[in-house]
């Protein structure tokens, strides 16, 4: 169904419990305190999103297939 005025968008959120070294946690706290992010959760969400974008399955498949081609037919 297309979204439009009056349409409710519900985003379901999962809750994860993570352990971080204190030093890393301190850096998260600093970023929030300095106003770069609204919360530590925002930072973790952003970091996970970026990690997943850079490791998308189709991207990893492409890299591996390119490796096979280079291995077979590279000029070096």
């Amino acid at each position: 169904m297309p979204f439009g005025p009056g349409t409710d968008i519900v985003i379901y959120m999962a809750t994860l419990k993570i352990e971080l070294p204190e030093q890393l946690h301190e850096r998260l706290r600093e970023l929030v305190a300095q106003g770069w992010f609204s919360s530590e959760t925002d930072i973790v969400q952003d970091a996970v999103r970026r990690f997943l974008e850079a490791r998308a399955p189709e991207l990893m498949s492409r890299f591996i297939k390119e490796d096979v081609e280079w291995g077979l037919r590279g000029s070096d």
């Binding site: 970026r50 990690f51 591996i64 390119e66 490796d67 096979v68 280079w70 291995g71 590279g74």
Partner: protein, 168 residues
């Protein structure tokens, strides 16, 4: 033969696990940032500096664009050191098995390959036979921490058997 190769920790660790570290000697000059070598020693403590690898320090003042890209993609110190060296050296190959590092390298216009490519290349270079490499690919999931989805690995092995005209 390729003039210059800069190698990240992944291929060093994975090739060592497969007892194929010698394949890196088939590159004319292989540079390994010292921060990368320290990382390798953490996971493969028995690995000793190889005579074919030159350990180099990371550039003290890396290119600002490289630094920004490394931060944006959350690359670790070893990956950032490799890319900083590559940015300074110009024409060179980057060996890494990390998808994010590979993505940044592509953005920088750097030719980049991984462990799998080095293994397959060894046949083309006459350093290994096709059956040897197929056997290594069979052993890959149990002998190495390099992860390749099982269906994709099966496709690759099938393609290689065809290319090398080998039966099942």
């Amino acid at each position: 033969m390729t003039e210059l190769v800069v190698c990240n920790a992944g291929p060093l660790i994975h090739l060592d696990q497969l007892k194929c570290l010698d394949l890196l000697s088939d590159f004319l000059t292989l540079l390994v940032p010292d921060v990368v070598w320290n990382e390798v020693l953490k996971y493969r403590p028995h690995a000793l500096p190889q005579s074919f690898a030159t350990l180099v320090p990371a550039p003290p003042f890396p290119d600002a664009k490289v630094t920004a890209l490394c931060r944006a993609f959350s690359l670790d110190a070893g990956e950032a050191a490799c890319l900083a060296i590559l940015a300074e050296r110009g024409s060179a190959i980057f060996l890494t098995d990390d998808a994010a590092a590979r993505l940044v390298a592509e953005e920088m216009g750097i030719e980049v390959h991984g462990t799998l490519g080095v293994l397959i290349r060894s046949v083309r270079r006459g350093k290994r036979t096709p059956p040897e490499i197929l056997r290594l690919l069979d052993e890959l999931p149990s002998q190495s921490t390099l992860f390749i989805k099982s269906t994709l690995l099966a496709d690759i092995k099938r393609k290689l058997r065809e290319e090398w005209r080998l039966g099942e």
